[in-house]
């Protein structure tokens, strides 16, 4: 077996050596301490920590809110991508640029801004609270914050696929007598499916781990509005490192599964695009 194909270009050893060294010191060794730390816990202790009622409540909120937020982003992300690619309207380029704001804006800044808007005296909150809809300091606030930070993912994965979509397919479908809705559902949507799924998985993964924007708006009440990253933070502040580590391992396992899913989805969509 050949470990490396021959090349006349220099610098392979230096570049790969530095890459591996830096990767190990910054990422691999620190991350592995997490797993080695868990090894100091017995299975019984580990299980007890990760199935404590407060932990279970935090998973429920983290998973539920992330799922709702990611689904909202699929619906509205597709709509925004569609509008940006297919239609023209004044200010379109600014809107297109602004879509990336949640990537560029520090999460804490997004968090305090959203909290201010949706609190009882806020611009939007003052109209919602009389209706009995409480957003800030309630689970709904977590959904709002997670929708905000996940917003660009679906737009940015769907947009290029939509741009590259060959008009011939739609034209052929029209000639064959399909109406716009049929064309969208049966011709365009299937093509967008891998990108939508990838965007969904990315938004979901990002939402699960999010901390900065949520802590301000959620109110952080144990059992009610406490997300898992916040519970880890609380345990760290109480110097309960074992508890924090166990929960972190659970979160990491979920994140890695999602990362794997995203990679498989991208591989699948590349193959599908290549087949077109």
């Amino acid at each position: 077996m050949v470990l490396k194909q021959k090349s006349i270009l220099p610098g392979f050893g230096l570049a790969l050596g530095f890459t591996l060294f830096y990767l190990s010191f910054i990422v691999l060794i620190p991350l592995s301490t997490l797993f080695l730390r868990t090894a100091t816990l017995s299975w019984g202790q580990f299980w007890e920590i990760i199935t404590a009622p407060r932990a279970l409540a935090s998973y429920r909120l983290s998973l539920g809110a992330s799922l709702i937020a990611a689904l909202l982003n699929v619906v509205f992300g597709l709509l925004v991508a569609w509008v940006l690619v297919r239609y023209s309207f004044p200010g379109k380029r600014i809107v297109d640029g602004l879509v990336d704001l949640p990537f560029a804006l520090p999460t804490a800044v997004g968090g305090i801004a959203l909290t201010t808007i949706y609190s009882g005296k806020g611009w939007i909150g003052q109209y919602l609270e009389p209706l009995g809809i409480k957003v800030a300091y309630a689970p709904l606030g977590v959904v709002v914050a997670l929708t905000f930070i996940g917003l660009p993912f679906v737009v940015r994965t769907v947009q290029p696929v939509l741009e590259d979509f060959h008009p011939e397919f739609e034209e052929a479908a029209t000639t064959l007598g399909a109406n716009r809705l049929q064309i969208f559902l049966r011709v365009i949507f299937p093509t967008l499916m891998p990108a939508l799924l990838t965007g969904f998985a990315m938004a979901f993964a990002r939402a699960l781990g999010e901390y900065g924007s949520v802590v301000f708006i959620s109110g952080n009440m144990p059992m009610r509005t406490e997300i898992t990253p916040l519970l880890i933070m609380t345990k760290l502040e109480q110097f309960d490192y074992a508890g924090a580590t166990a929960l972190a391992v659970v979160m990491l396992a979920v994140s890695f599964l999602l990362l794997l899913a995203i990679n498989l989805l991208q591989w699948w969509s590349r193959r599908r695009l290549a087949a077109l």
């Binding site: 470990l3 392979f12 569609w82 305090i112 611009w123 008009p167 933070m233 760290l236």
Partner: protein
């Protein structure tokens, strides 16, 4: 990546009826999309500046006279000034190895580089506490030698490097893979040295992608909250970065000052978006000698 020139002609044909919806549907969709973005993007952006300026411009400026705000700004700049160049060098090295050579384990390496993106910010900070903290592995040794990493500046820098680790590499790897190796090989055959080839051939080819990665890396380095929050210890004037300072001021109900510092970060975000746009536009301009 680039469509063959034949496709361009097909795209320039104006949209016919087969490819668009009735005007009513079009405007309804546009209105819904804009309403959604208005609620979720524009309102938060406006509220930051509105809150910062609610008691007038004088009081807004007053917020920056606070020495702790200045200390936070300085620490944020320092952190970015260390983290970004290190990740830049790493990104170039990793992209050179991965894009220009074929070797076993290349895909695994590419996946490992993306790892920090899959980790929650809180966990990103926590792993350094487990390593260097008082109860951490190296904690006792560090204390003996009076080296402070956690609840001090080195910890903040380390956590920032971790969360911004993949940015440059993941921009450069696909770009350099798409460019192939012919140009560099030609330079080497003609007698150029490795570094000459790199600086005269590779760097001009990747400069926009490189800049793009650096811009994104910098925005995240200056704005990171979760990871830095775990390792910082929130010591005012010493280990507070700008996002952490915003949190403290906000929790003290000092809203004008909190949003004043936040407005600087929001401006940074807007500059980042503008710079990103510019680079995207630039990198799509065909440069002389290419293709």
């Amino acid at each position: 990546m680039f469509a063959p020139s034949g496709l361009k002609i097909a795209e320039s044909v104006p949209l016919n009826r087969a490819r668009t919806e009735p005007a009513v549907v079009r405007w309804l969709l546009i209105a819904t999309a804009l309403l959604f973005l208005g609620f979720f993007l524009l309102t938060p952006l406006i509220v930051i500046f509105a809150e910062a300026l609610q008691k007038g411009f004088a009081l807004y400026l007053e917020s920056f006279k606070d020495p702790e705000a200045w200390a936070a700004i300085r620490l944020t700049l320092l952190t970015a000034a260390i983290a970004v160049p290190l990740n830049l060098v790493f990104g170039v090295a990793a992209a050179w190895a991965i894009a220009k050579f074929n070797f076993v384990g290349k895909n695994v390496l590419t996946t490992l580089i993306d790892l920090p993106f899959a980790v929650s910010p809180v966990i990103s900070g926590m792993i350094f506490v487990l390593l260097f903290g008082m109860q951490g592995w190296l904690g006792p040794w560090l204390q003996e030698h009076e080296i402070k990493i956690i609840f001090a500046v080195p910890g903040i820098v380390l956590a920032t490097i971790f969360v911004t680790f993949p940015f440059v590499a993941r921009e450069l790897i696909p770009l350099m893979q798409a460019q192939g190796t012919e140009e560099e090989e030609a330079a080497i055959v003609l007698g150029a040295s490795g570094w000459q080839t790199f600086f005269r051939i590779t760097v001009p080819n990747i400069k926009w992608g490189l800049l793009y990665g650096v811009i994104l890396c910098n925005a995240r380095a200056m704005g990171e909250f979760g990871a830095v929050s775990v390792v910082s210890g929130h010591i005012r004037g010493l280990t507070n970065t700008m996002p952490l300072h915003v949190e403290i001021l906000y929790n003290e109900y000092n809203f004008v000052a909190a949003f004043a510092v936040a407005s600087l970060l929001a401006l940074l975000a807007l500059v980042t978006l503008a710079a990103k746009r510019f680079v995207e536009w630039k990198s799509h301009q065909p440069s002389v000698g290419q293709r």
